[in-house]
Amino acid sequence: MSENPNTPINEAEILESFAVPPRTGRFKTVLNWIVREPFGTLGAFLIMLMVFVSVFAPVLNTTDPMGFGVDILQAPSVDHFFGTDRTGKDLWSRVLYGGRISLKIGLATVIIGTFAGTVFALLAGFFGGFVDFIFGRITDILFAVPTFLLALTLSTSIGADMPDLPGIPSGELVVIIAISVGFMPGIFRIMRGLVLEQRGTEYVLAAEVTGASQTRIMARHILPNMLGLMIVATSITLPAAILTESALSFLGAGVPPGSPSWGADLSGASRTYLMRAPWLAVFPGLALSLTVFGFNIFGDALRDTLDPRLRGKI
């Protein structure tokens, strides 16, 4: 890609750029993408690795991540790849199972946050007037609090009567809701702008003229055009949600005490032993950083591919 306007003109290159590209198979498309976006590929690889170890954590030489052991504060060895903590818990197991929690909370947050944010934006942007006013003011109010503080406040104040869902204990559900609500104002604002933009286009007008119902216009004409931006919002929110979860758990306001969370493992009582056992400080943070890094570089490449207008913007 020659962006530099000072590059000498190469006729063959220009002609080639106007040529109709040959049809490429799906496999070849993926292959092309890998060549064009080596960093994105690295990101995808890191994400797949993380998903793999999370899913197969039980068979990857782990023990119960919450189980105590007799080997206290052991340095990394063949028995304990990442060493053990002050109660003999195997850090390798905790890091692997910690991936499950991070991934679960990240995904759930994105699904709830992006979905709810988009629905609210669709309603506000489409109907305008009073609905827009109410949603807009609530967003303004939530926007006044820094996201992390909002999530912290919510996760420490809601939850006395949160139900257990299958696969998601109430303690984790609280965190998910807290982070989702924290991210919702941002998603709402971006999406609302897009709905307003769509609302003014000729094809929406045309649909209105032909007598399409409001639900149909929203579902068939506006929503499909929001998918790209929804994926972009997801690619930004997912790593941010994982970081927020670990930061909340680091402060003791996240997942229930004892749960294997990368943030929680860096905090609390284990901090007293960091000098004696520096591996306790290294591995959970390394796993967290690599995961977020993977999601970020993959998201970057995805944005470049999906929407060249956004290239390098976010």
């Binding site: 962006e3 406040t153 943030g263 967290l288 970057d300």
Partner: protein
């Protein structure tokens, strides 16, 4: 322009009142929780009821909120629920300076590092240097501050016997040099990721401006590239940069809760954290309102600065 400023100035208190109502409902109106916080396990029914009565907790929530708001607009956020029940306002005013100092230092460091990196990245776009810088900036936004802060405490202590953690804190007024030598560490920890955000935004907004007509004109009339970059391209890419610095403050203030806790800095971040742990909801309400006030005011300032940076913008 004047109308715009007036409208914004009116909207700020309205927004803060709305926020306080929301937080009040979230934190306060839960059966018995506040009185329980005070009693601290004292569970004799009679005492409990008397306590509730004294604190006004037996009144309906809107009366309680009205009482709180009436005092809050006069600058009185009530007393801490936890003994010794100090005034929330005096606790905040004694500490907010330290948090503002960290915030300011962080913004300065991140601008000084982030803006040049963004410019270099944009000028040398797609070169090896650019790819390297972009990788570093993505790393910067990926690596969590509480981890680097932890490593900063552990590794130098382990290998050099030195730690940035200080046990006795002194404010800037008391001992500027000592104060800076303590406060600089949380600022650096918070600054690297916001520097990375700033660099990414400067790069992309400069690239956009690079293809505009006036930059082409400036080049065509033979101006030195350095002048084109700094005077034509950079100044015009400042607006999104201003926006991001305003929004970054939100991330920085949120991070201050973590950084102040790790480095034991007595700011309102540490106050908030301790109040959460103790379920001291009057303090939580007060500090979150203070954070929101700082955040909203700075973003108001940013909006007004737009007109200075870009005379084309008129409200």
């Amino acid at each position: 322009m004047r109308n715009y400023i007036i409208r914004r100035l009116v909207s700020v208190p309205l927004m803060l009142i709305g926020l306080s109502l929301l937080l009040f409902l979230l934190l306060w109106v839960r059966p018995g929780s506040a009185a329980f916080g005070v009693a601290g396990g004292l569970s004799l029914d009679t005492d409990f009821e008397r306590l509730e009565e004294r604190m006004g907790l037996n009144k309906p929530w809107y009366e309680q909120y009205g009482m709180w708001l009436g005092k809050a607009v006069q600058g009185d956020f009530g007393n801490s629920l936890v003994p010794p029940q100090n005034s929330v306002t005096s606790q905040i005013s004694g500490r907010v300076g330290n948090t503002i100092e960290i915030g300011l230092l962080t913004i300065i460091i991140s601008a000084v590092i982030g803006i040049p990196i963004g410019i270099i990245s944009a000028v040398k776009r797609n070169s090896k240097l650019d790819v390297t810088l972009r990788t570093i900036t993505i790393l910067g936004i990926s690596v969590p501050n509480f981890w680097t802060a932890t490593l900063l405490l552990v590794l130098p202590a382990k290998f050099f016997g030195w730690t940035p953690l200080s046990t006795d804190f002194s404010t800037f007024g008391e001992d500027p040099i000592k104060n800076l030598s303590i406060v600089i560490w949380p600022a650096i920890i918070l600054a690297y990721s916001s520097a990375a955000y700033t660099a990414r935004l400067v790069r992309s907004s400069m690239l956009e401006v690079f293809y505009s007509d006036y930059v082409r004109t400036a080049r065509a009339k033979g101006l030195v590239e350095r002048i084109v970059v700094l005077r034509h391209a950079f100044r015009n890419s400042l607006i999104p940069v201003l926006t991001v610095i305003g929004l970054q403050l939100g991330v920085i203030l949120g991070g201050a809760v973590i950084a102040e806790q790790i480095f034991a800095i007595p700011g309102i971040g540490l106050l908030t954290y301790k109040a959460y742990l103790a379920q001291d909801y009057t303090v939580v309400l007060g500090t979150v309102m203070m954070f929101a006030l700082l955040f909203v005011l700075v973003n108001l300032l940013v909006d007004l600065l737009y007109t200075v940076v870009d005379p084309r913008i008129r409200y």
